[in-house]
């Protein structure tokens, strides 16, 4: 094997090992959840915010051309939120900026992710999958209030 070839090979393997270690760290060390897609339920047809406890919420997001339902949501800081997402028409994207929630709204299924808002602020949500002529305006936000900022 040529020296340059061997160098490239070792670099590639080292990178793969590094990324694998990162995945293991994310799964075991950071307890990162993988988004779940629920396929055996009838998707909801209305978006809503359900409060179970002072810091426990469930938000059902309905993505449609070209808006999210519910629109702006206000939450207290420290809330743990179960996010369920479905689409009323075509495939949409769903990304909460500043968190690792990155879902796909697929008609007929419900996507799920859990997120905890530890810091107050405005978390913008955008549709990041092209869904038609109004795609660039499809956004909403979660406003997390309280904490030291107030």
């Amino acid at each position: 094997m040529d020296r340059a070839e061997r160098g490239a090979f070792i670099t590639a393997v080292a990178f793969m090992g590094f990324f694998f270690a990162l995945i293991v760290y994310a799964a075991k060390g950071l307890n990162i959840d993988v988004p779940t897609c629920i396929t055996d339920v009838k998707p909801f047809t209305q978006g809503q915010v359900i409060q179970h406890a002072p810091d426990r919420y469930e938000i059902h997001y309905l993505a449609k051309m070209w808006y999210f339902e519910p629109a702006d949501v206000e939450l207290p800081v420290g809330s743990t939120v179960d996010i369920y997402l479905t689409s009323g028409d075509v495939i949409h994207g769903f990304k909460i900026d500043g968190t690792n929630v990155n879902l796909m709204a697929i008609p007929g299924t419900v996507a799920y992710a859990r997120v905890k808002f530890d810091k107050p602020g405005v978390y913008h949500i955008v549709c990041h999958e092209y869904c038609g002529i109004g795609h660039q305006n499809m956004a909403t936000k979660i406003i997390v209030k309280g904490g030291e900022q107030q």
């Binding site: 094997m1 061997r6 393997v13 090992g17 293991v24 075991k28 307890n31 959840d33 779940t36 629920i38 055996d40 339920v41 909801f44 359900i50 179970h52 406890a53 002072p54 426990r56 469930e58 059902h60 743990t80 179960d82 369920y84 419900v110 799920y112 859990r114």
Partner: protein, 228 residues
């Protein structure tokens, strides 16, 4: 060619069938067992159907069969409860050999609801308790400890995984049993002492990791030696 066909039939097909059966079992979001197994339960306050408040740690010393349900359920939860009722006499007497707790995770359930559930299902309420958490904080501490997730629907219905959780006498999450009808042998095995595999579970991942690392190292060495 022949060996390839055999590999497909003996290796891949059973694997596909296995994944198929695993996926068709659950509804909703299954718990992440690797995060909860072996972990200590929080000492939550529960209220039983007679209105008595107690700490879950008061039940220490005997295993607990924890069955998360909600009282307004008219699909899976009554089937789970009826199946438990058939299976439990084969395992022993609840309250003496073990505890059975039907735990309502519906945040809106009150004592009247669980009392009605207890009476409708002819549960004694002592050895087999029907409980709600004392407050919302306790409810979510317990629900999080077993990583039980549910999705709210209209009319107080929920999408949730169908399972039992077996808690060891020292209040650790021991085993999940999935499904709506149960085999008493599964429960018996879960109630008995820990098997070798269960004790080794925390280390299994690292054993796999070592195996993976050594295999890749071996392959790399092999590749380079071949060339040299």
């Amino acid at each position: 060619m022949c060996s390839l066909v055999r590999l497909l039939f003996l290796g891949v097909l059973p694997l596909l069938l296995f994944f198929n059966s695993v996926y068709s079992q659950g509804t909703g979001i299954p718990p992440n067992e690797s995060r909860t197994l072996g972990k200590l339960l929080p000492n939550v306050k529960l209220v039983d159907s007679y209105g008595n408040t107690f700490d879950i740690y008061e039940l220490k010393g005997k295993p607990i069969i924890l069955s998360p349900i909600y009282t307004h359920c008219n699909s899976a939860c009554p089937i789970i409860t009826d199946s438990l009722k058939k299976v439990i006499p084969k395992l022993g007497k609840p309250g003496e050999d073990f505890w059975v707790i039907s735990f309502s995770f519906d945040p809106k359930d009150r004592i009247e609801d669980i009392r009605k559930f207890q009476q409708d299902h002819l549960i004694d309420g002592f050895g087999w308790k029907v409980v709600i958490a004392k407050d919302k904080e306790d409810l979510f501490r317990l629900v999080d400890a077993i990583d039980f997730r549910f999705m709210t629907l209209e009319n107080r219905d929920f999408v949730h995984p169908n399972l039992l959780v077996v808690i060891s006498p020292d209040m650790r999450v021991k085993r999940y049993i999935y499904g709506v009808v149960f085999d008493y042998r599964d429960l018996k095995r879960a109630l008995e002492g820990e098997s070798f595999l269960e004790k080794a579970r925390p280390y299994l991942f690292f054993v796999g990791l070592i195996g993976f690392a050594s295999t890749s190292l071996y392959i790399l060495l092999k590749i380079f030696k071949k060339v040299k």
